[in-house]
């Protein structure tokens, strides 16, 4: 019989501060509470999210998030089996604040401490939401990350490819900035793109001509900039339609690249003969309807089930950290008070690092 495990998760690796309680028994995992203190209402004026860079600010909010998460779950610290915390990768001050908070709770209560890789949290979310079995293919696509992973187990991932420069979420934000749209750029560009003609301006499809699953988005952003300047020089400014067409063209280019690289990643994944093949998408960019529809279509063609967790679990949250903590807890993982925050922490430490311009480094 499977023992019921209840874990408190903490997440503070970027701008958001979050705490959640997840319980897993015989009937699967259940999110008892999930609190996210985000900066969403503050950012627009600055062309980006106002960074919560001070460890102190995270630390103050973490306490409140933990109290609220326990309250919403109707539990006390005594009801927990462990505390899981994001130990990287991310903004170091934030990660340190989360790790310190978790250590404090563990020191005071005697609960086990479990370190979680933020990217593993995203990559394992399809198991939390849809009980997906290993091995599955996951496309992690967000502001800071873009990679194809085969998830073999809680701590076993193979990276098939990833961005050699910027992640798509960053490209969306920067294109929005270039075109005078509000931040965050993802929803703003998507809304504009609905009014535009994706075929009006020719934009590149970076790295499609090259074999493999690596991606590049920095040059696409620069191509949008260049096109904008050409139009401005020609007409003395951009019309609303020009802007909508640029957004549509940009979004379509990102979509085409992600779809084609997904096709290739699926082909590699399917050579492993998974019994019930699944491709999951995780990360904030999964919220984009056009991208999501294209990925669904690619999966349908390959007869692979497509899983996209709800948006609140695609963006940064602590439920995914608590859930990953449960999986690690069941495997016997326990971390000590010497746990250190790691600003960079690749999920797959055996695949070569991504170097710019598509070159790959020696196997580490």
């Amino acid at each position: 019989m499977v023992r019921t495990v209840t874990v408190l998760g903490l997440e503070s690796s970027c701008d958001d501060t979050a705490a959640a309680v997840v319980r897993q028994g015989r009937d699967g995992a259940q999110i008892l509470s999930s609190i996210v203190h985000s900066q969403d209402d503050l950012h627009s004026a600055y062309g980006g999210v106002v960074p919560e860079l001070a460890a102190r600010a995270h630390a103050e909010k973490l306490d409140i998030c933990v109290i609220q998460a326990l309250h919403d779950a109707g539990l006390t610290l005594a009801d927990l089996d462990a505390v899981a915390v994001t130990a990287g990768p991310g903004l170091i001050g934030g990660v340190v604040a989360g790790v310190m908070c978790a250590k404090g709770i563990c020191a005071a209560t005697g609960l086990p401490l479990i370190a979680v890789n933020h990217l593993a949290g995203h990559a394992l979310t399809p198991r939390l939401t849809d009980n997906v079995d290993f091995p599955y293919l996951v496309l992690l696509v967000s502001g800071g990350h873009c990679q194809f992973l085969i998830a073999h187990g809680t701590e076993s991932f193979t990276r098939l490819g990833g961005t050699i420069d910027d992640a798509p979420g960053e490209a969306f934000d920067k294109v929005a900035r270039l075109l005078g749209l509000a931040q965050p750029g993802g929803p703003a560009v998507e809304a504009e793109a609905r009014k535009g003609d994706a075929a009006h301006f020719a934009l590149p499809r970076p790295l499609l001509d090259r074999a493999g699953c690596d991606l590049s988005f920095s040059g696409l952003k620069t191509a949008v900039l260049r096109q904008r300047d050409i139009i401005a020089l020609d007409k003395g400014g951009l019309t609303r339609q020009d802007r909508a067409d640029l957004c549509a063209g940009f979004q379509q280019a990102v979509t085409d690249v992600l779809a084609e690289k997904s096709r290739r990643a699926l082909a590699l994944y399917l050579t492993q003969d998974p019994a019930a093949p699944v491709m999951a998408v995780a990360g904030g960019v999964a919220a984009n309807g056009t991208i999501r529809a294209a990925l669904e279509a690619v999966c349908a063609q390959s007869k692979v089930a497509f899983v996209a967790p709800p948006l609140a679990l695609c963006t940064d949250n602590a439920a995914m950290i608590a859930y990953t903590g449960i999986e690690r807890f069941r495997l016997g993982a326990r971390d000590g008070m010497d746990l250190a925050a790691r600003p960079r922490w690749p999920l797959d430490q055996s695949s070569p690092a991504m170097l710019g311009s598509g070159k790959k480094g020696a196997k580490a």
Binding site: Y46, G47, P51, L91, I92, D166, S218, L225, D229, L355
Partner: protein
């Protein structure tokens, strides 16, 4: 007195080569301020510079969201920062950047956010597009500290 020098590179690869030639000239306490608009190639330049100094290859992600990425390199600690999202100078102190100016090699994107906190011995690199050639970048170097003249001469005059 401020000294200037402008270099022109006709492809991303040429810019990358310049970055990897500048890298071995750097030591702890040096600071590069990368100025210029979105899409000018600041992160491209920084990525290649950092990668050429790493003893174990690893990803060099954009610091746009994390603000700072720190690396242990053959030449000592290196900080790669993107200050675009910062709004007040006390946030720069919170980042620990002031201390890093003395103890690490610092590569700073959007250095205008530093204001008067910018180190006086820094090398400024202003990245600009070419109106006619899409892949060409002009980089205007400027410095007040005499130590840069020889180092730049050594790599730019080949």
């Amino acid at each position: 007195m401020t000294a200037f020098r402008t270099l022109t590179f006709h492809s991303p690869e040429e810019t990358a080569i310049f970055a990897t030639r500048l890298a071995p000239q750097l030591r702890a306490g040096d600071c590069l301020l990368l100025d210029g608009p979105v899409g000018a190639g600041k992160t491209h330049f920084a990525r290649h510079l950092v990668q050429s100094l790493l003893t174990v290859p690893e990803d060099v992600p954009s610091p746009t969201y994390t603000l700072v990425q720190t690396y242990d390199t053959a030449a000592g600690p290196l900080w790669h920062a993107d200050l675009y999202r910062l709004t007040a100078s006390d946030e720069i102190e919170e980042l620990g950047l002031i201390e890093a100016f003395d103890t690490a090699i610092c590569i700073i994107e959007w250095p205008d956010r530093l204001g008067s906190l910018a180190p006086r011995n820094a090398l400024c690199l202003r990245f600009g597009h070419d109106d006619n050639l899409p892949d060409t970048r002009h980089i205007e170097l400027s410095w007040n500290h005499s130590g840069w003249a020889d180092r730049i001469g050594a790599i730019a005059d080949v």
